[in-house]
Subunit: 245 residues, 2 copies
């Protein structure tokens, strides 16, 4: 089962520098300024969500304001009721839903997602609160081109409850991590980490709120680094070269 | 075997607000200013080292400049050739050496150290590059009154090679942790963590240098918090109340 919203109009928009006319977005967020050469092809990003997708929103805004030379070409959810889908549609972004229960197994589910990502021309995939483990079908289709964000300073506190686990451990500093995705949970090479002080947090929810603020900065920061600087992976370290600041 | 340096002179020094005349220090670092009430009894700190003790020096300086309401009453090493011993003696601080090979086992060794700490009136114990595991003899003599500093953001990268392990893992942020000591290695409740960016570090040694700068800030910061604010431990979290800034 696939449901996909379609653009329902057309507005000339000088920021819509896409190679694909289907990606033109009638209600797209307006650019504040142009930082990159108009001749630079925009990287197309597919975003996977399961809920409200607040990190999806921060990525889409960073694209719209040309903070990063990219555009969100599709938002895909495994849940039809993910609130982020409505936000995406409201901003002229194509969406698709693939309920995982409709598929025989994880690989079949991921195969359908890979198909839709390809249709949207996605060069990169960003997980933004996507609550499914990825199979090799997705990993192999986008080797070192899938990003995830995790609400702790990895390798501390991987798993579903990064904020709560950090709070209960009593760390003085926590934060968030944007990393490339491999087959192990919360494990791949780290692109960006941002920190928050725990002091003064009454509970894990308050800490989670502080971390979320940094998540919304970290994801665009990571994409900008990866899309504008030369980089390579040695061992599991990412080394960045020179490039746009 | 115990070797202890003794004060070899006497200079009137208004910062030497000790209850113990033996602690008067002829060549003590001079105070820059007095931040605490003269009537406040200074907390006595015993420091354990195995090498040059650069963190010992940062603690001693913070005492001498009255950043923290404390004085270093003894520096103890398990190695006679620890360079930090000479520095301590040169600054009028009592020292003692207990080579661990001279003792039958860890508990006997720790028993001798506890005896010397008691003789020096130590209220707190700070480990500053002390390369021995502590037995229950030391832990029980100073429950929640022993501090350690570790060159990583615990619980990530415990053990002997915190800086190298963090560098090789490829974290974007590392740092240091000051924590209360319990029987598990690099494990007790966390008092202070300070962060450093890894980006731009050519190797683990460069990262270690950046972390060391923060270590020298973190240890005095942790002592100041513990000695000037009310605090309590719930679970393994330390909660600080109001007090001197």
């Amino acid at each position: 089962m696939v449901r996909a919203s379609r653009p329902h109009g057309f507005v000339s928009d000088f920021n819509t520098r896409s190679r694909d006319p289907k990606a033109l977005r009638p209600q797209a967020l307006k650019p504040l300024r142009l930082r990159y050469d108009l001749a630079m092809a925009l990287t197309k990003i597919g975003i996977l969500i399961s809920g409200r997708g607040s990190n999806m929103q921060s990525i889409a805004r960073a694209c719209a304001t040309a903070e990063i030379p990219a555009e969100v070409s599709v938002v895909i959810s495994n849940r039809a009721d993910a609130a982020g889908l409505e936000w995406a549609r409201g901003h002229g972004i194509d969406t698709a839903v693939f309920p995982h229960k409709d598929f025989e197994n994880r690989k079949a589910h991921d195969g359908a997602i890979v198909g839709r990502l390809a249709e949207a021309g996605a060069d990169w995939v960003c997980l933004a609160g996507y609550m499914r483990l990825l199979s090799s079908v997705l990993i192999d289709a986008y080797p070192n081109r899938i990003l995830n964000i995790h609400p702790s300073l990895l390798p501390s506190f991987p798993g579903l409850h990064g904020q709560r686990d950090a709070f209960e451990y009593g760390v003085a500093v926590s934060g968030c991590t944007v990393h490339l995705v491999d087959l192990e949970l919360d494990h791949g090479p780290i692109v960006v980490q941002r920190t928050v002080a725990v002091e003064g947090c009454a509970d894990a929810e308050e800490l989670a709120g502080r971390i979320l603020v940094e998540e919304h900065r970290a994801y665009p920061e990571a994409l900008k680094k990866l899309l504008t600087k030369p980089w390579s992976i040695g061992g599991r370290r990412i080394a960045f070269g020179c490039g746009a600041d």
